[in-house]
Amino acid sequence: MNAETPISLEQRKDKLQGLGCSRKRVEDARFTQGKGNYVDDIKLPGMLFGDFVRSPIGHGRIKSINKEAALAVPGVKAVLTADDLRPLGLHWMPTLAGDVQAVLADEKVLFQNQEVAFVVAEDRYAAADGVELVEVEYEDLPPLVDPFKAMEEGAPTLREDIADKTEGAHGPRRHPNHIFTWEAGDQAATEQALAGAEVVAEEMVSYQRVHPCPLETCGCVASMDKINGKLTIWGTFQAPHAVRTVASLITKIPEHNIRIISPDIGGGFGNKVGVYPGYICSAVASIVLGVPVKWIEDRMENLSTTAFARDYHMTGRIAATRDGRITGLWCHVLADHGAFDACADPTKFPAGFFNICTGSYDIPTAYVAVDGVYTNKAPGGVAYRCSFRVTEASYFIERMVDVLARKLDMDPAEIRLKNFIRKEQFPYTSALGWEYDSGDYETAMDKALKTVDYQGLRAEQKAAREAFQRGETRKLMGVGVAFFTEIVGAGPVKNCDILGLGMFDSCEIRIHPTGSAIARLGTISQGQGHATTFAQILASEIGIPAEDITLEEGDTDTAPYGLGTYGSRSTPVAGAATAMAGRKIRAKAQMIAAYLLEVHDGDLEWEVDRFQVKGNPERHKTMKEIAFAAYNQAIPGLEPGLEAVSYYDPPNMTYPFGAYVCVVDIDVDTGVTEIRRFYALDDCGTRINPMIIEGQVHGGLTEALAIAMGQEITYDEDGNVHGGSLMDFFLPTAVETPTWETDWTETPSPHHPIGAKGVGESPNVGGVSAFSNAVNDAFAHLGLTHTQMPHDHWRVWQTAQRLGLTGQPAAAE
């Protein structure tokens, strides 16, 4: 088998398509031909379709539900209400945050569009007809929509089910609408630093309620096989194994009799981490009716019920010396969690990793407190393309640093450079307790500033402002600088779990006799291209070409247990498991090669795709040859076959970072904000596939653009949700989206087997601050320090009005 034509070392490396190459995606063949397999594509014999009756009001008591007319609709098979689920104990379900959530409204409705009844019919049209005819009588109760009023005396009690519970999942509750208080840092020392500071800047920074809004909504098909007692659920699950365990715990069906399958997923962005009433109702309906039941959200249901994000109102105080050295940071967050606390955070972190809010700066002392409250809004609080509340934290610090720079009359880039954690300080322990693994912030920032000609931009801005003063233009130029540090890759089992499940991840590899392989992971791609990139990691580890490695995820009957894909954890955790499993394969392969070459295994060295005898590379065995030998030779002391599995518990999080610069031109008479230029430098450690990294950055920046410049879900005072369709909720088209400039530095993670840190969410984390800083910067010379997002045309125009930039009368607030 040594008959292959000799090729050079470089050719052998290229053939692998391993780490660092822009390998084309293996997923694309099916997607470009319309052959993807998404959950709504699944069609099973006898399958029924479920649809929800939803509450038209934000807060009320259910007086009666009459199903009769609905049940008379041809094709309608069943109508489920809380009373039907109660005997099964499934009318409420546990949330990921230690709270409970009504599967179907139990006596009360707590937000508009809350699930009240589940109509099951032969097709989606009949189901919709049935939904129309379910009669529900409500008694209106006063809605609570302003989180700042949630804990006032006399505020309506929303959660009567837990009204007298003074202890919640995360400590004491001091009001019926209070969920938790969570603190980090040293309060006394921080208050002392503020009291003694030369300069203190203050601001209230709100991060509005938004929604991840993947193009595919949430849905599932539940199928109970009564003959073998097995429940199979295909669904849009970002964490299929966790769903299986949760499903087993709440239905009492043994876990081996539940199979969860995540087929192709049309984008997740955090929307598909949680467990939603539709999943439970479909499963119950399938168990009761004995046939498969499908439930697919429509867009309005998606935007108004499953998984909002953010809704953090952050009051900050930042202390500094007169020359701009930051000495302390204080923050209080009021977190609006809606009607149920369904935040998707690791158990011990009710405010996620918000305490990364000291950002990229060496701040000696800091304190943060977060109060979570209930309101009559949809539950959620998911990490929308970010790691658990990191976007909120990054936005907070990046706005606060700019606010401080204004107060000190310092340049925003200069104040950042002055306060950066220095390269030699890593590993760096922050005042709020995180150990940053690696970073080289100055190099990244210098490269960014040089590339965009920052000094030139500031000179141009000065000239443009003077021209504006002279009346030669009605446009203001803004330059936004943002530097972010993320915390991703949750996480070490010692402090990260979801519902008690440690947040490790896994990879199992089987090498076939002819030298190709299959690898299965506990994660699930939603567009990230795992089948492409994880095969690259393996190719480099085991010397089998990436194209000869099949990658499978998402089927709990076959994949090893893992916690899924969100929080940029796939590469830091499952990517590490992949490399480690590959190394186990290689270790066994070395023993096989030693046997075949009749040498001691210590006399062998690995080179690209083979083991060779040290000093005599002519004598070698390729991985392909070794694979065959594993299946056809009786090797003393070794089991046949070549397989490995790795469950990887990361020793630490990873800390990607980046420097972003955004240039905007604002028409003060219309509020139209043109993104003239956006430069993004990302450092995600070792780069696995530059093409995919660039694609992730483009996408994340576009989501950041959407959030900063337009996305918002609001509620009026009657509890009606606004922003619940794509007519109202801003998704940028190709026209609004600028052309992105991407760049990189590469600072590997010291604790990750291949040094990779994860990248998918960085551009959203850093991008929002850069846009917002640019808009605020455009008006800075007129005395503006901060305006709230989103910076849509209307709000920007209002800002211009307030600053007296038009002759027209000021608009009513």
């Binding site: 993947p214 291209g529 052309t739």
Partner: protein, 164 residues
């Protein structure tokens, strides 16, 4: 509800079926014909995931009754490859230039781009962006989609020239 008899040409084949008049074209295509390439993303004709080609125009099949497509000629993503199975230059270009990630918008995106290039075989980037603005993508930020369409346009022009 009583059903009506509908007939149309889909991807070059005659098809017929019974459907309630209120049935949306997208549901007829996906559920009766099993053509699950076009997707449903918003139900309100904003996102374009359901885009198909109907009598030489791009339409959003989630906002069209199947009755309105009676007798029409419909092309979906499944009908873009050549009879010999070779992919359309747009399908090749989307892969080559990483013009897709989760793939959910891709069938509608490519089907729309197919019509755009019929309408304007040599579009500028600005014309591509405007011409594609009825199709939303949440993953790619459009940059590589624009690149892919530009590349496919060049490829198709070269192919045409070679054929002439």
């Amino acid at each position: 509800m009583s059903k009506m008899h509908v007939k149309m040409t889909v991807n070059g084949s005659q098809v017929e079926g019974l459907a309630e008049p209120r049935t949306l074209l997208i549901h007829f295509l996906r559920e009766q014909l099993g053509l699950t390439g076009p997707h449903i993303g918003c139900d309100t004709s904003h996102c374009g995931a359901c885009t198909v080609d109907l009598d030489g125009k791009s339409v959003k099949s989630c906002t069209l009754f199947v009755a309105q497509a009676n007798g029409a000629e419909v092309t979906t993503i499944e009908g873009l490859a050549a009879a010999d199975g070779s992919l359309h230059p747009l399908q090749e270009a989307f892969r080559e230039h990483h013009g897709l990630q989760c793939g959910f918008c891709t069938p509608g995106m490519i089907t729309r781009a197919y019509r755009l290039l019929q309408e304007n075989p040599t579009p500028s980037d600005e014309e591509i962006r405007f011409g594609m603005s009825g199709n939303l993508c949440r993953c790619t930020g459009y940059q590589n989609i624009v690149k892919a369409i530009r590349a496919a346009a060049a490829e198709m022009a070269a192919g045409k020239e070679a054929a002439e």
